[in-house]
Every structure is written in structure tokens, then in C-alpha cells.
């Protein structure tokens, strides 16, 4: 998805219609310890928003606050114009580390059916529509796992399981997707397929929030990127935010930046020790030369 057609590059983009997400002065965390401090941003509907930040920076926490799993200690979170609890049916969520009991006997179809869960009263509880089954199959087809519908979900490969979990979010046909590292563990082709699908959903008006460690991908795909490290360290279209300064500020120097055409590409190595030379001397800029040919980092 191209970003050049995006809104004029301001740091807090606005739009005519209601913002899909509006977070104001959010502070929250776990058991008395804050993980996010004073987060404020807003994103218009129909945008592809990438959350970037090092491990423990609060990406998952922010997503949990947006689905209402965590209450704000301070500040407010509004999604689709309302409190998260009120619009859960319009949100497709995919947690990072699922609490899923994979040993549980459930077929892929059963798992995706959970995405269609809604409160029902009286005899409605027992109605199992053909329409529901059709929607489940359609979601599985879009992720090319329809042939696995009757398989045990626990017996699939990790990548197949991610697809099934994404199908479970997709089957609701939500207006807002909150996806916590949806492409982790996918092979390059599957990752591209999933990102294509997300771009297509955004084009059709859905709002997408994806947390990722893949800065190159965020640069390519996202309309907006939010850099996070307990606080917001930067927010805006990627061509403005994905800069060496920003990356250093967010990743505290554990990032290598190299020039690539007009825009800069960043590498976030998994193993910091190999790159200890990057510590502290980020004024020295271009490590790009050192990096050419270091394909083992497996980046884009």
C-alpha cells in the first residue's frame, strides 16, 4: 500500500469522519506497575497503522487497552467512537501469545466459529445457521486453509495456526482489526499474502492496527506508524517517522540503519551482542557498509 497518497504529513493526522482510534493521555499497566505512560494519538478510519517498538515497550499492552482487556488508569481510550467494551463485536482481535490450549480437541471450524460468538438469549442460543457455516468457510478460503476445516487445530503447523487465528478475527467482518504480531512465524510468502489481505481490507474501509518488529514492512505497508517505548516516541506517516533519529530514540541505539534509495531502511537485529559496536555511538550514523551481505539477519 502506497503512503504517498496518504494525508498531508502532519504528526497528528486528522480526517473528516470520526477517528477509528482516539487515545488520550492513557496510562495503564499490570498489577500497579505501569507499562504505558501518557499515550496520546488518534487514527482515522480506513488506515493501516503499525505499532513499532522494542520488546517490552508496550505494544501488546496498548492493543489490550484498545480491546478493553486492560482498563485505563488514567486517560481515555475510544475506538470506533465508543468505549472498547461497547464495540467488541466490531473488533477483530488477534493476541500475540494466545492463551490457547492447543491440546483441546477442537477442529479448525470450531475455532473459527468462536469468532462469531455473540450473546444470544432464548432459543437463539441453539440456532446454528447455514449462513454461519458459509462465513466460516469463506474466511478459511481467504486464508487458504479451507482444506484444513475438519483438522484438529492443535495438530497444525505454527504458521497454519496463525492463519486460523486470523480467520477467526476475519470471520466477524470487523470494522477494526487489532493484530498483535500477526506475521510472526510466517514464511515470506505467507507474510506477503497476509499483508496483501490487510491492505485490501484497509482499502475497503477497515481500520487496521498491527504490531510488528518488521520496520521495513511497516515502511512499505503502513499509512501511519506509532513508535512506542512506554511512551509515544513518534507518530506519523512512515516516510516521516522512520528516520534514523526516531529509531535510535525508540530502540535506544540497538538498531542499524542503512540508506536504501530515498527512504531509510532499518534493521532490528535479534541479537544485540553481535552489534555491540552500535551501542552508544549512534551519532556515527551509517553502519550500512558493515551490513551489506549480512543476510543472516533474515530481514525482508
Amino acid at each position: 500500500m502506497s503512503t504517498s497518497s496518504g494525508p498531508s504529513p502532519t504528526l497528528f493526522p486528522s480526517s473528516d469522519n470520526d477517528p477509528a482510534i482516539e487515545v488520550k493521555n492513557l496510562t495503564t499497566g499490570y498489577r500497579g506497575k505501569s507499562a504505558l505512560q501518557d499515550i496520546s494519538f488518534s487514527a482515522p478510519a480506513g488506515k493501516f497503522l503499525g505499532l513499532l517498538g522494542p520488546n517490552g515497550s508496550g505494544k501488546s499492552t496498548l492493543i489490550k487497552a484498545m480491546i478493553g482487556l486492560l482498563q485505563p488508569w488514567e486517560g481515555t481510550v475510544r475506538v470506533l467512537g465508543r468505549r472498547p467494551q461497547e464495540v467488541r463485536r466490531r473488533i477483530g482481535y488477534m493476541p500475540q501469545a494466545e492463551d490457547i490450549d492447543w491440546s483441546f480437541p477442537a477442529t479448525v471450524r470450531d475455532v473459527v466459529a468462536m469468532g462469531l460468538y455473540r450473546r444470544a438469549f432464548g432459543m437463539d442460543r441453539f440456532r446454528k445457521g447455514q449462513e454461519e457455516q458459509d462465513r466460516i468457510m469463506a474466511a478459511l478460503e481467504r486464508l487458504s486453509v479451507d482444506h484444513l476445516a475438519e483438522s484438529q487445530a492443535g495438530e497444525l503447523s505454527g504458521g497454519q495456526q496463525r492463519r486460523v487465528l486470523f480467520a477467526r478475527a476475519l470471520v466477524k467482518e470487523p470494522d477494526l482489526f487489532l493484530l498483535d504480531e500477526p506475521t510472526a512465524g510466517l514464511d515470506a510468502r505467507s507474510e506477503q499474502e497476509m499483508l496483501d489481505l490487510l491492505s485490501e481490507l484497509a482499502t475497503n474501509g477497515a481500520s487496521i492496527v498491527v504490531s510488528t518488529h518488521d520496520i521495513g514492512c511497516a515502511n512499505e505497508r503502513c499509512d501511519l506508524t506509532l513508535f512506542l517505548n512506554r511512551r509515544v516516541t513518534g507518530y506519523g506517516p512512515p516516510e516521516l517517522t522512520i528516520t534514523e533519529k526516531m529509531l535510535n530514540r525508540t530502540f535506544e541505539g540497538h538498531v542499524l540503519v542503512m540508506g536504501s534509495g530515498g527512504s531509510s531502511l532499518a534493521l532490528a537485529p535479534h541479537n544485540h551482542h553481535e552489534h555491540s559496536d552500535a551501542h552508544g555511538d549512534h551519532e556515527h550514523a551509517q553502519h550500512s557498509h558493515a551490513l551489506h551481505g549480512h543476510d543472516e539477519h533474515g530481514f525482508v
Partner: protein, 283 residues
């Protein structure tokens, strides 16, 4: 041969035993599916043992068999809710169960040790009273079984969702804690029904064995429930025959049958003993 098969059912006490056994088998297999899948066997055992305390209180207070069942159900319910509360205070589940198990079971024994004339009724706490079930007791069991079946039917989707993926269930707006507590209470109710039938020590077998057998042959929760009910009923029938013709205690006889069925299926099933042994041998 026909006589051998039909003889037992001419007696009213055998008919009653079969009815009571069928009700318990049904309720047990329905919660048993979750007990086996989610590893709640320890909870089941604890609930059964603590229901002894409630039963003892009711008995010592001079209550009849209905009061005893209700007392047992009360104590079991307290355990289930207690475990649920302690777990949500971030205590490990097995620790919470162990604590309540020991406390309430010891309390039950304490009460029983004060009783002077405990021989008859109290021995039924150990091995059940399936062959002497009074009608009121059957009504209590039927009530317990109906509650279990009804609640499970109505809240099946929530139970399944929460058992499978609590995070997503919470994100969908399901009150996860409530559903988890509800499941534990259902386990407690089924355990109490089984407790009256086969006694405190054998409750586990009623709830675990048929469902465990079912998981060897089918792999979807509703099928595990139905197949488990089938194995449970089969065990009740065979156990009652054995008890009638072999003149042995009915409760243990049912349990031995149930576990034997498990071993049989385990030996011949696709994921069973023979295949496993062969795989180990060849590797």
C-alpha cells in the same frame, strides 16, 4: 441366558439402581469431558472428599438422605467457589485445591469421629448406596443431573470458548471468571450425585473414566460427551449385573467395569497401547 440377563430387573431395587446409575452416568460424562480435557481430576477428587464434610454435618444434625445430599452439594459448592476465588487471587490452582481439600476433608472426618452410631449410614459415604437408593435420593440425583445437563446445554458455547482460549473469550466480552466458576460448580454437582451413588473414593472414576475412554475414540467435545455417556451407561449395566450375580458391592463393581472398559479401548484404539508399544519398539 435370557433369564440371566432379565432376572435382575424384576427387582425394584435393581430398577432403581439402574435409573440412578443412568442419571449419574449422564451428568458425569457431560462434565467429565471438561474434567478430562482441562485436567480437573484433582479438583474433582477434592470436591468429592470435601462433600463428605457436608454430608457428615447433615447426618449428625439428624437429616435424612435428601438433607445429606444437599449438605454434600453445599460443601462441594463451597470448595468449587473457594478454589475459584483463590485462583483468581493468583494462587496456583493445585495449591488452592490442596488447601481446601485438606481443610474440609479433615473437618468431615473430625465430625464423623464424634458420631457414636456411624456404622451404617457412614459406610455408604465410602462405597455409596446404589442398591439401597431411596426414592427421595433418586429425585435429588435427577435434580442434580438435570441442573448439570441444562446449564451445560445452555452455556455450552461459553464453556467451550473459555476452556479453549480465555483471553479471546474475555476480549469478546464473556465473563471468564464467572464461566470458570460455573464449570467448577457443575463438576461439584456431578461429583455429589456420583458420591451418593458410588461413595467418596470412587467419584473420580465415575467422572474421569468414561470421558477418558471417549477421548480415545472421538475428538470433538460434544462427541466425547455422548460417547462418554455411552461408556458410563455400559459400565453401570455391566457393573450391576456383576453385583447381582456375583454378589459384590455395586459401586466398586461399576467402577472396576468402567476402568476395565478404558483399558480395553486403550489397548485396541488407534492411539492406544498396542500402537504405542509398536512405535516405541520400532524406534
Amino acid at each position: 441366558m435370557i433369564d440371566w440377563l432379565s432376572d435382575p430387573w424384576q427387582f425394584e431395587f435393581m430398577q432403581r439402581a439402574l435409573l440412578a446409575g443412568a442419571l449419574v452416568a449422564l451428568a458425569s460424562s457431560i462434565v467429565g469431558a471438561f474434567v478430562v480435557i482441562k485436567g480437573l481430576a484433582f479438583l474433582t477428587d477434592a470436591v468429592a472428599h470435601t462433600s463428605l464434610a457436608g454430608a457428615a454435618i447433615a447426618f449428625l444434625a439428624g437429616g435424612g438422605s435428601v438433607a445429606i445430599s444437599l449438605g454434600a452439594a453445599g460443601a462441594a459448592g463451597v470448595t468449587a467457589v473457594g478454589v475459584s476465588i483463590l485462583t483468581r487471587a493468583r494462587m496456583r490452582e493445585d495449591t488452592a485445591i490442596g488447601l481446601l481439600f485438606a481443610a474440609l476433608f479433615a473437618f468431615g472426618i473430625l465430625l464423623i469421629s464424634r458420631a457414636r452410631n456411624y456404622t451404617l449410614e457412614l459406610s455408604s459415604f465410602l462405597v455409596g448406596n446404589i442398591l439401597t437408593v431411596p426414592t427421595e435420593d433418586i429425585i435429588v440425583m435427577a435434580a442434580l443431573a438435570s441442573v448439570v445437563i441444562f446449564v451445560m446445554l445452555v452455556f455450552y458455547r461459553e464453556m467451550l470458548f473459555v476452556a479453549y482460549d480465555p483471553t479471546m473469550a474475555a476480549a469478546t466480552g464473556i465473563r471468564v471468571g464467572l464461566v470458570q466458576t460455573g464449570l467448577m460448580v457443575l463438576v461439584a454437582l456431578a461429583a455429589v450425585a456420583a458420591f451418593r451413588l458410588v461413595g467418596v473414593v470412587l467419584v473420580m472414576a465415575m467422572l474421569v473414566a468414561p470421558a477418558a475412554t471417549a477421548t480415545l475414540v472421538v475428538r470433538r467435545v460434544p462427541l466425547i460427551m455422548i460417547t462418554g455417556a455411552f461408556f458410563g451407561l455400559l459400565a453401570v449395566c455391566i457393573g450391576l449385573y456383576a453385583s447381582f450375580h456375583g454378589d459384590v458391592a455395586a459401586g466398586p463393581s461399576i467402577v472396576v467395569t468402567s476402568v476395565s472398559l478404558f483399558l480395553l479401548v486403550f489397548t485396541i484404539s488407534r492411539r492406544g497401547l498396542i500402537r504405542t508399544a509398536r512405535r516405541l519398539w520400532s524406534s
